[in-house]
Subunit: 441 residues, 2 copies
């Protein structure tokens, strides 16, 4: 019996994270972590929940874009969509008028992600499975039929993609041990040294072994902070550094060379997220120092990832569950990364990104890469309490979610607020005293 | 006396061009040519007019983005802005929260273009000069100070840029002869062969010698249409073909090879506008056939253009006055193109794009390239009657505009409509009979 989508609502939900410098980096100095939150409803009363992550101002533009896409979704049945998901994906991303304001990038692609995340959630719920399980158990042909191969056939054909997927027996291992994670919670750029030390000590006690530090605003500061962290975590734990696009190409090479003695595994987002050739130059220059280049959280589509891989411009692929066109486009990137033998280490944090991307990385390990070498998923201990099925971290590993769906349902109270078009941000500001414990990170 | 900007209004103005297939191509089959139209007003009652071009649905999203940027503009004086235009550019493009939904691409960059186009218009008006003249007569140091060099210093430094600009005496030549143009009006994809023949005959009679044909939907159709046009225009006139991103890389090479016998000068937008390496592969494959690659109308920022140039991925740079961050970012691209010795042949057509880009290409010739070899500016005979200072074409050349400003003022009736928040599109649909002569293209 077809589940026809009869309603789509979208809300602008903001958290005042800038108040305490959570999430601060060299380019985003005052982020208020936010989402455009999408709920779709079928004629049988079933819901699908989706979102895309933003950092405050501008969320209303993404909301406006979701509203524009809504007409392409409402009235369709789930069966109709998933029987030709590639076609539906292209309907959203290649609308003859709307593609002009992208195409497949920026606001309109973020909106596509929010809408399609809700569709995938609905699909997984209707099958009674967590999303990762839906993917792992799906017939490979069906899975491939969800991907739009337009513009990537010179790097990956449907036949090659099919050859790469297949059922694997790594499920039990994941259920028992979980997927390895690293933490970004200890060293946001705006944190004091004292707070950084405290958080680092706590994280070590909790079993964390891999740590990321924000850098890029001031070299002397970076040297002090990296030295401090390396001292705290010792020589055998892993350190990554993240400049959030702060530098030009030459500057990136000089700056990171100065930080090489702290043995970072990678430098993340050294320059413009659009600069494939720049990242290739940086990769080449830093390789002799044993430092890789990681990027992807603002890499806007599969065509860009294709080129980053073709140009050997990155050594770690950081997919993002809300920047790319949902599961569909992430599947394309996972398969290309495997073909090019580059490990995937997803971007997470934000609002709900951990909840989402854990599904994708579980699928990657179980069905695509079959390897944990140099692989780990970002984790930030942040705003999880607002989700009905928050991530479960045990011993610095993501434990596979068991609830059906894509883990995106925001708690009823927040949802109620957003449905009533109240901006949580202002609400929180108003009630700061009351809210601080709830939004404690 | 400072001219403080006290108001910014933005309107969604649409023209029902899809009714007659004007503007149709392989990817945009039913465009309704539209603009997000910006008017800024100073405390002294002076106005600046700006816009960005869109093709219908989605314009409301760009309008929403302009409204979000508005707070960064209102309250500033023109003097304050132009005394540090680079800083102001970065304020708009690097806002710590809003950059997340770009950065510098798609909706938010289109909105930036609309806003900054209005600022440049205001600046030129306040100096009593057409924009091209403001640029040509500006001190090179001042000019360079308008450009954000972030992310492009590996290709062009400020010092190199300075060395490339300088006052030239090509002004008289331009005032007398104008800048060479080519026409796209004859062969939109949705036109019948009969219409195509008629328009081609008319254009030849009007002195046109360079013609562009839309291709990419159906190979047999393309062969028939290219053959027809080549027959009409003879062997010595110039033919260009434009696929509007329809193909994958391999497909582009095969398809264009089949059309090589009609001797196109270039293939435009053969594949994804993001695919630098793909365009490089196509360029390499088509070079032996004497066919160049042209792209740029959906190239979203200077970082992408930088790489297209670095990778020898295009032989013709098609800047766009509304896709890039206004004059500021276009200056960066003009200077890089000159350094890499690649001719600039701007994208135009749409609504107001011809009016805008003529200023930039005049500046390019007079102050940067000093050459007309393989250079020409697109022209579409389209919706000019709605502008107070429409382009003047004589003998297939753009004649330099003389009115102060950036030629963007829309006639009062349309402006009144837009100010009153009526969507012209619906208004036109309602009054089709009455409106057809007015919007006749």
């Amino acid at each position: 019996m077809p589940k026809k989508i009869v309603r789509l609502t979208v809300s602008d939900v903001r958290f005042p994270t800038s108040l305490e410098q959570h999430g601060s980096d060299a380019m985003h100095t005052d982020p208020d972590y936010s989402v455009a939150y999408v709920v779709i409803e079928t004629d049988q009363g079933m819901h699908g929940y989706g979102l895309t992550f933003t950092v405050g101002r501008g969320t209303e533009i993404v909301v406006c874009a979701v509203e524009a896409l809504s007409a392409l979704v409402v009235g369709k049945s789930l069966e109709e969509i998933v029987s030709d998901f590639r076609g539906f994906y292209r309907l959203l991303t290649s609308d003859g008028q709307m593609r002009w304001i992208g195409p497949e990038k920026g606001v309109i692609q973020l909106a596509t992600a929010a809408v399609l995340n809700a569709v995938w959630d609905l699909w997984a719920r209707s099958e009674g499975k967590p999303l990762w399980k839906l993917l792992v158990e799906m017939d490979p042909r069906k899975l491939i039929s969800c991907i739009d191969f337009r513009y990537i056939t010179d790097a990956l054909t449907e036949q090659e993609a099919l050859a790469q997927t297949g059922k694997q027996q790594r499920v039990d291992q994941m259920l028992k041990e979980g997927y390895p994670a690293y933490t970004t919670s200890c060293a946001w750029l705006g944190y004091s040294d004292q707070l950084l030390k405290q958080l680092c000590t706590d994280a070590l006690n909790d079993g964390w072994t891999k740590f990321k530090v924000k850098v890029g605003a001031d070299l002397e500061d970076d040297i002090r902070r990296c030295s401090l962290i390396r001292q705290m975590i010792g020589p055998h734990n892993t350190l990554m550094i993240d400049a959030n696009q702060r530098w030009d190409v030459g500057e990136a090479i000089t700056w990171v060379t100065r930080l090489a003695e702290y043995k970072p595994l990678w430098i993340e987002e050294p320059t413009s997220p659009d600069d494939i050739l720049g990242h290739a130059a940086i990769s080449k220059a830093l390789a002799p120092l044993g430092i890789g280049v990681a990027t992807g959280e603002q890499c806007h589509n599969r065509v860009m990832f294709k080129q980053f891989l073709q140009a050997s411009a990155l050594q770690f692929v950081q997919i993002d569950s809300c920047r790319l066109g949902s599961v569909n486009e992430n599947l394309a990137v996972l398969l290309m990364a495997h073909k090019f033998k580059v490990p995937v280490c997803p971007h997470a944090g934000g609002v709900g990104l951990c909840e989402l991307v854990q599904h994708l990385i579980l699928f990657d390990y179980i069905s695509v890469s079959a390897s944990l070498d140099n692989r780990m998923c970002e984790f930030v201990d942040h705003l999880h309490q607002h989700f009905r099925s928050p991530v479960v971290i045990q011993n610095a590993h993501y434990m596979p979610p068991k609830d059906p769906g894509y883990s995106l349902t925001i708690e009823k109270f927040l949802y109620w607020l957003s449905l009533h078009k109240m901006k949580l941000f202002h609400f929180c500001m108003f009630l700061t005293g009351m809210f601080v414990p709830i939004i404690k990170l």
